[in-house]
């Protein structure tokens, strides 16, 4: 893991009406690192991702990617630079088969530039990506309509969409939520394999047990503010963190 800082977030602020969703959050993300962002419900985790990828405009604060400021760019430009995200509320293209879902990312300017001109047969590339991610080619799973796939496969499809873009940073927004223990047991090795391939990942999660096995570094949010940061073992012992999750009475 290098020391090169890939993503630098400084002082992000966002309030909707009277509610402060994100208050003065700053952190660094190093290349090859897996960062976990945790916090109770409503602590602003998804808003933070929206601010970084600029699906929502920030009130204050800046984001730097590889040293260059990106907090003024449009959302698609940031995705084009290689910062991709999954959506907590799954939104695949239901009327299309699973592999056709990947045509849009494979058609995007980023992949066309990296692939060096014509990518060739996008359908074949899409099916290869799906096979790598666990869609069994023999059972014709990649050809099924996205609307008929169970949730575990849809989550993988979302991840496949991110991977099809040859990303620099992958932001996974609650990718384990809604899955059964068996399905999570198959997803965790996938995330570990991505880690081993050297990808830089940010994971927002509620399931701390699985998350702490994967991440190198954790940031904890509560009511929009960062209350702790560090290794998983340190963070879990932190006073503020325990108070946030268990409440003041729970500490007694």
């Amino acid at each position: 893991m290098n020391e090169e800082v890939l993503l630098r977030v400084r002082g992000l602020f966002k309030s909707f009406g009277g509610v402060t969703a994100v208050a003065n959050v700053s952190f660094d993300l190093r290349k090859g690192e897996t960062l976990g962002i945790i916090g109770p419900n409503g602590s602003g985790k998804t808003t933070l991702v929206n601010l970084i990828t600029r699906f929502v405009k920030q009130d204050l604060g800046e984001v730097f990617f590889k040293g260059k400021k990106i907090s003024h760019l449009k959302a698609y430009k940031i995705a084009e630079m290689g910062i991709v995200r999954t959506f907590q509320i799954m939104r695949p293209f239901y009327t299309l088969p699973a592999f056709k879902n990947l045509i849009v990312p494979l058609y995007s300017p980023r992949v066309r530039k990296i692939g060096g001109g014509k990518l060739g047969d996008r359908d074949a590339v899409a099916i290869d990506i799906l096979e790598e991610i666990g869609f069994e080619r023999d059972a014709y799973v990649p050809y099924k309509m996205a609307s008929s796939l169970p949730l575990g496969y849809l989550k993988r499809l979302e991840l496949a969409r991110c991977l099809a873009l040859r990303p620099e940073v992958i932001i996974c927004d609650e990718i384990f939520s809604g899955l059964s223990m068996a399905e999570i047991a198959t997803m965790v090795p996938l995330m570990e394999r991505l880690q081993m391939e050297g990808k830089t990942i940010i994971m927002i999660e509620h399931r701390l047990r699985e998350l702490f096995r994967i991440v190198d570094h954790v940031v904890v949010l509560n009511f929009g503010a960062k209350i702790a940061e560090g290794l998983p073992e340190e963070v879990i012992e932190h006073e503020e963190v325990k108070k946030a999750y268990l409440g003041k009475k729970g500490l007694k």
Partner: protein, 115 residues
């Protein structure tokens, strides 16, 4: 629907209220001259311009925009010549959509946050 309100009924009521308001407007405009079947289309242009300039979702915005556009119309009529009135409406729509899409008092702020 899931919150216990019948959304079809709400839509019907909105349609009824909107149409009633349009009917009142027609009655108000009657003394200005004649009323034909095609009068509706003429008013439509200025109504849409007012909506866009004032901002969808805010009726104070519509009132303010109505005054603004009305005065702009009369002033162009007096100083520019009466055939430029429609041009004013069109220019107002285009300028609003380019500079500030949610209009003067628009509630749909996400239009501006549409980065």
């Amino acid at each position: 629907m899931m919150l216990g309100m019948d959304s079809d009924r709400m839509a019907t009521i909105s349609l009824a209220v909107g149409s009633a308001l349009a009917g009142v407007a027609a009655v108000v405009i009657l003394p200005l001259g004649n009323l034909t079947v095609e009068s509706g289309y003429q008013v439509l242009i200025y109504a849409v311009a007012v909506c866009i300039v004032g901002g969808l979702g805010s009726w104070p915005g519509a009132v303010v925009a109505a005054f603004l556009l009305g005065y702009a119309q009369i002033l162009t009529d007096k100083f520019g010549g009466s055939h430029y009135q429609a041009v004013v409406a069109m220019a107002a729509i285009i300028i609003t959509l380019i500079l500030r899409p949610s209009g003067l008092f628009g509630k749909q702020k996400e239009l501006e946050e549409r980065v």
